[in-house]
Symmetry: C2
Subunit: 436 residues, 2 copies
Amino acid sequence: MNPYEIIKAKRDGQELDGDAIRRFVQGFTRGEIPDYQAAAWLMAVYFRGMTDRETTDLTLAMVDSGATLDLTGIGGPVVDKHSTGGVGDKTTLVLGPLVAACGLKLLKLSGRGLGHTGGTLDKLEAIPGFRTALDREALVAVVNRAGMAVAGQTADLVPADGKLYALRDVTATVDSVPLIASSIMSKKLAAGAPSIVLDVKTGSGAFVPDLEGARNLARAMVAIGRRAGRRVEAVISDMDQPLGLAAGNALEVAEAIACLAGQGPEDLQELCLTLGSRLMVLAGAAPTHTEARGRLEEAVRSGRALQAFRTFVEAQGGDPRAVDDPARLPRAPIRLAVPAPAGGTVHRLDALAVGQACVVLGAGRRKKGDPVDLAVGVVLHKKVGDPVRPGEPLATVHASHHERAEQAAARVAGAYRLAAGRAPRRPLIHDIVSDG
Amino acid sequence: MNPYEIIKAKRDGQELDGDAIRRFVQGFTRGEIPDYQAAAWLMAVYFRGMTDRETTDLTLAMVDSGATLDLTGIGGPVVDKHSTGGVGDKTTLVLGPLVAACGLKLLKLSGRGLGHTGGTLDKLEAIPGFRTALDREALVAVVNRAGMAVAGQTADLVPADGKLYALRDVTATVDSVPLIASSIMSKKLAAGAPSIVLDVKTGSGAFVPDLEGARNLARAMVAIGRRAGRRVEAVISDMDQPLGLAAGNALEVAEAIACLAGQGPEDLQELCLTLGSRLMVLAGAAPTHTEARGRLEEAVRSGRALQAFRTFVEAQGGDPRAVDDPARLPRAPIRLAVPAPAGGTVHRLDALAVGQACVVLGAGRRKKGDPVDLAVGVVLHKKVGDPVRPGEPLATVHASHHERAEQAAARVAGAYRLAAGRAPRRPLIHDIVSDG
């Protein structure tokens, strides 16, 4: 089939064979198939969808477009984790040291924040001296020494994804389950870990707000992993309100450290224990989730989890003293309380609005390449279900400019819905998808 | 709305306002909106369709992309006609002189043949000396003198259509009713005639083979015309078998001349009288279709129709002697009969296969720009419903090469289905659409 026939077949709802998909991806990546044919094909995929087989072939073709990581130098079971992104999502900073303290090797290629969702690289860079640009040898050396390593994506991995994503971004073809799933999974497959846990967020602050959409995405990604010979599970977790209490880069690092010391917010701790126990069993390091969870909890109690974080920070050039003295992290000069306009119970706390307040403050990016203010953000004092007295602070805005502080505080105030009676409860873990 | 938002709105099934459509067409035509965004939008239109209002706005935006014809110098009611194309469709060559003889002014910009469908310009160029490249003044002068003029499309009319069509052609977005309807109607509106009859073909040799599809296309085009302030009707005519008996450029000219002399095949004559009587009433030149038809028949009987054709040919530089002596038209050196393999009745005669035989002979083009052999083609001796004796010639192939003659004869033989009993009858006129 030539490119025209491949577009037409997808347009007409036919299942494309692996050869057609490979040649389309290859031709597009090499510049032999023009953008306009790829754009028409992407829109046809948007409308027609893809079978699991097609999505896997697409993912593998994208992986084949570039280099893959060689993990043979790593001693121990290599694992990976991906989150679809949210507000206050500092999970990697807690999960990594937790599983590293239990013998796993977490090697993660991360991204930067965009829009209302934060990025792990930005958060880590709030630690003085921390370097996220590591070459392959350095990555392997850090993983072997610290049990975990986090670095930025390199351009030679999955070049097809960068090119396809740029085109999707300007042709309204981003919101497609097979295209999202193949984009995420191509990077996970290229990074090489045999065991992968996916944190698929659902709720107002998530990339896929509705539960059904999140389930479809989770199912598609797990199916790709299984067909590609990896052990993959997806945890569908709530992102209708922010995760934990802190949103903003340095503020989230401080909260992650507290969590590793056993003093973190309950939802963050629970999610990290869930993700960690799934990874332990996937990697064959524990026989049951209960036993895995027990070991992870012991790593916190014993201080080994926090020590793993110190080792990791130091191995990537960061100042380990910041781990024990959060005053060494960037701090914003302005603190502005957001008082409750009335009493009641928090019935809703809109993650998207809190994320947008962070963008106003400069903690996030409006567009790629924007600078980020590492110090600023929002610390929540009340979450869904909490009782509130009139005038009591709902949250504190950490800002560098007075005007932005006021704007952000107004957004945060608008994020809360207070009412009488019991608040509707959303579970933290909506579902766990083990089989695509 | 920016281009991204316009793509997304159409993708999501929203109705686009006129301003958005205008800016998209204008931006694309000027090269400000890149091909890949236009391609994604076209595929979204393919899946979502367009309302009559949107299709009309698209058509008018395309018209606005270029020049339009100024008809003020023409004395008399100007009319136009369009056929969606078929095999043996020499309708314009008969209809034009018919209505010209009754006082109408047919000004038609025509195209060339492509694939199995013929083109009016190619057919007219079979007449020695005939010129189809006329500038605006010449066009008006010919119409005023002969009552009709036929010329090639000029590049300054509807440039958006050329650019959009080229993109649709390589992105599998040709087969979309609003895109087909706007492409055809933009050229009709730019050519300026207030009264237009559309001949929408249906059957195996038609661009839209199924009757329901043809009806949708007819309805969409009539709606555009009405909303744009023109008087438009569409006749849905059969193209499951070829129209008339001759297919091939010079052969069709000869058949058109016979028809104007009252000796043409019944289906061709009937279709031209139908189209002509609709045009007469649309243009206000006759009060009823019955009266119009009577006048058109009288134009044939009196010889005025044939005389109008002579005047037209001469006005465009052609040799009028060819009208009375078809031996002056190009003639193919080889004639090969296609004998009936058995006796029976013709149950089917596949127009597409006959058109493909013409392409094999060189009468049509495989791709744009291919040369055309004006002399070659196929003359049918039997059509659906005709009884056939074993060995009796079904058709005669007129060829320039022996090998091609054999190949074409095999295709023509394959186009016939002979069987016992009465043949299933398809009407010549399936429907007339007067109101979109």
